[in-house]
């Protein structure tokens, strides 16, 4: 609690901070523009990767939905037993984990299903067509092998036909792409952190003389640290804000061209996802804050 208060006071201090202290850090110089730029570029890349990852996520989700209702259980039984066996099968399916619902298809539905091969004039009534149970799997899907065994034991006429199997890889592929997108984001953030740290250190070492002079005239370490940390945090915040905004604009205007790919519904953010990229600048600023603080304290540890 107390620590939190101190941290808060420190943050306020940092933002309102006495302007004069800022003047002691040389205002521009390439190293500081480098910091801003690194923060900006990495923010841009991470927002882009975030958008990619979210879009792939949506893709995976959509595909899962599309593919969710294609398993069937076919029951071929002598005239009288079909209904009875279907009932038993439905009960088994209802308690099977991985299946969210199961229901008997109507003749009309079955006709539509077969239309591609037989046209819609097929005389269903005269054919020995089996009953079909449509299964909605949930995202994991059932244990197919176990279910097959159980059905074989209790409903001799039942055959499980797992149409989704060949489609599942699409979903897996999409989820993996999403995972790789997330990995990219993590990699980008790690690189950003390392680069901001190095930029802060290089700025500190470039401002070696500034630090020497300040110490010579009686500046406390906390004063020096604050001046540098403030400067760098603001730089990283500004740089990454620009990078984020730029990336969001870029994404907003990029995908119109190729919109036809209906499945990947544009690269843009959807709904509350628009909030996610807003965190990027704060994360960058936080990294800069911590990195500069550590680098400055380290630099100031020695004597003189």
């Amino acid at each position: 609690m107390n620590k939190l208060k101190i941290a808060w006071a420190r943050a306020q201090d940092l933002l309102s901070g006495d302007q004069s202290a800022d003047r002691v850090v040389p205002p521009s110089g390439y190293t500081s523009s480098l910091t801003s730029f690194v923060a900006g570029a990495m923010a841009f890349l991470s927002v882009f990767a975030l958008a990619l990852s979210l879009a792939t996520g949506r893709l995976a989700e959509r595909w899962s939905n599309e593919l969710a209702n294609t398993s069937t259980v076919r029951i071929s039984a002598p005239e009288g037993q079909a209904a009875e066996q279907a009932k038993i099968a439905l009960e088994i399916l209802k308690v099977t984990p991985g299946i969210s619902s199961a229901r008997l298809m109507t003749q009309e539905e079955q006709r539509r299903l077969l239309a591609p091969w037989f046209g819609d004039q097929l005389p269903m009534e005269n054919l020995p067509i089996p009953s079909l149970i449509e299964i909605l799997e949930d995202s994991q899907g059932p244990d197919v092998q176990g279910l097959k065994l159980r059905l074989a034991a209790e409903v001799p006429g039942a055959v499980l036909d797992d149409h989704t199997r060949w489609r599942r890889p699409f979903v897996t592929a999409a989820s993996r792409l999403r995972l790789l997108g997330l990995i990219s984001i993590v990699l980008i953030f790690v690189s950003m952190a390392a680069m901001i740290t190095l930029a802060a250190q290089s700025a500190l070492s470039a401002n070696d003389q500034v630090i020497k002079v300040l110490r010579l005239i009686g500046a406390k370490n906390s004063y020096i640290v604050k001046a540098f940390v403030r400067r760098f945090t603001i730089r990283a915040l500004l740089g990454s804000t620009f990078g984020t905004l730029f990336a969001m604009l870029f994404i907003l205007f990029l995908p119109r061209v190729a919109e036809e790919g209906a499945f990947l519904t544009g690269l843009g953010f959807r709904g509350w996802h628009w909030i996610l990229p807003m965190f990027v600048p704060f994360l960058a600023a936080l990294i800069a804050f911590v990195a500069t603080r550590i680098a400055a304290k380290h630099t100031l540890q020695g004597p003189s």
Binding site: V213, L216, G218, A219, K220
Partner: protein, 225 residues
Amino acid sequence: MIELKKAGFSYGDGAILADVNVHLAKGSFHFLTGPSGSGKSTFLKLCYQALMPSAGTVKVLGKDVRAMTQDDIAMVRRRIGVVHQDCQFLDHLSLAENVLMPSQVSGRDVRDDLTNFNQLMDWVDLMDRINALPAELSGGERQRAALARALILSPDVILADEPTGNVDWAMGKRLLGLLIELNKMGKTVVVATHDMNLIREAKSEVPARVLRIQNNSLLVSGADL
């Protein structure tokens, strides 16, 4: 104010200073001389804690320097005005901002020091250069600015390393006059210099002692050189 007892210092290989015993009392005026490379700057750095003694003790304003934290050192330096031999400045700030910097970093209201600032600038004859950047100053101007910065907080102790090396004789006498003036107000002054004329000049006005570094040890002489 500053007291060295059996103090020694070495940068690694051989000792630069050994067995130094000296007391720079309040209100005293000392010159520090010795051949180039003998250890004058090193001695002054021991006095303002840019270096820590390798042996013996150094007490500054009554405190043993070894027991000081970095913040303690910062506080001490606000009461010690230092003219470094290289006169380092913040290159991106004007002369005025540089001279007033000690006031700023110690958290004072800079306006309180403006009178002092004006007087000092007049004395060192830099009033018309206060907006120049350090790189736009001549060697002697930089040296005078460094002296002004050392004096801006009216420190109790003034340590000046070669403050007149780059100025002409007239200006040198003028700067010396300022230091003598301050010494008469009770400030402790130490000036490292090679200029024997300067020492002679001072001796005619204040009872200055001369510290001479030779063969790694500090010799104190009262009246003569």
